[in-house]
């Protein structure tokens, strides 16, 4: 079991996910689009979310102390100072 946190347009929502260890970023993005469209992610329901909504997003993966996975699908953060 993994916990997927999706951040889109300034809102974050959490979705529990049954996944295999070797799931790729593209699959995570595809799953995220599907579950958001279908309203399965509390607080983040967008029925007409485009297939490429997460094209430029990144996936962070962390192990939890309990032996699970935390996944973060989020926008890139290239900026800090100008």
């Amino acid at each position: 079991m993994a916990i997927l946190t999706i951040t889109y347009r300034g809102t974050s929502a959490v979705y529990p996910l049954e996944i295999s260890e070797d799931i790729g970023d593209a699959d995570i993005k595809r799953i995220a689009v599907e579950v958001i469209r279908s309203g399965e992610v509390p607080g983040l329901q967008i029925g007409d979310l485009g297939n490429s909504a997460f094209m430029h997003f990144v996936v962070d993966r962390f192990d939890t102390p309990e032996g699970g996975k935390r996944l973060y699908l989020r926008p890139k953060v290239p900026f800090g100072a100008l």
Partner: protein, 190 residues
């Protein structure tokens, strides 16, 4: 404790502002100069226009609060990073590009100096503060991508700068290394 800030732009200058009460020696490094447009999203005042950002930070903190910090108005590169950062007990990354972030990460890892990164998305709807052990620098989708320098993003920059300052404070006072994610609704631990 010697705390070295790499970058005194939107996030760096704001975090510095909130770190002025810390019990430590603060150093700031930035090669850039304050432009009038920077006043929209950075803590600099009109009197700072034209000055180096590191020097302007030093002047403002001294003049307004009596806080003494060190300033280096140079670009941080591999040729000078040893000299500028080797004595640091904490490094703070508020850079705006992946190459500089990676340079700082490589240095921090080789010297085993704690390093915390702050970074935000181009549209200022999302940001992270993350310790180097769990950080990987993102690159722009396209070189020269528009950045979050407009005044519209000032409140979000303020939240990120304050969050970074609090995480620095927790490390300085108690050795804690907390990460944070910030979106338009929340600041949450991660």
């Amino acid at each position: 404790m010697r705390i070295v800030f790499a970058g005194a732009g939107a996030v760096g200058s704001t975090a510095l502002w909130f770190c002025r009460n810390l019990d430590g020696d603060i150093v700031v490094i930035d090669f850039d100069r304050v432009e009038s447009r920077n006043l929209l999203a950075q803590v600099f005042t009109r009197q700072a226009i034209g000055k180096n950002k590191a020097e302007a930070s030093k002047l403002q903190l001294k003049n307004y609060y009596g806080k003494n910090i060190e300033a280096f108005g140079v670009r941080l590169v591999k040729e000078n990073i040893d000299r500028l950062c080797e004595s640091a007990n904490l490094l703070v990354d508020a850079f705006d590009n992946a190459d500089s972030r990676r340079l700082l990460s490589q240095f921090a890892r080789s010297k085993q100096i704690p390093l915390v990164h702050a970074a935000m998305s181009a549209d200022a709807t999302f940001a992270i503060v993350r310790w180097d052990e769990r950080f990987e620098a993102d690159v722009e989708d396209t070189p020269g991508q528009a950045t979050c320098e407009g005044g519209d993003h000032l409140p979000f920059i303020g939240v990120l700068g304050a969050t970074l300052a609090r995480i620095i404070q927790d490390f300085v006072t108690g050795g804690l290394k907390r990460d944070a994610m910030i979106d338009l609704r929340t600041v949450r631990g991660c």
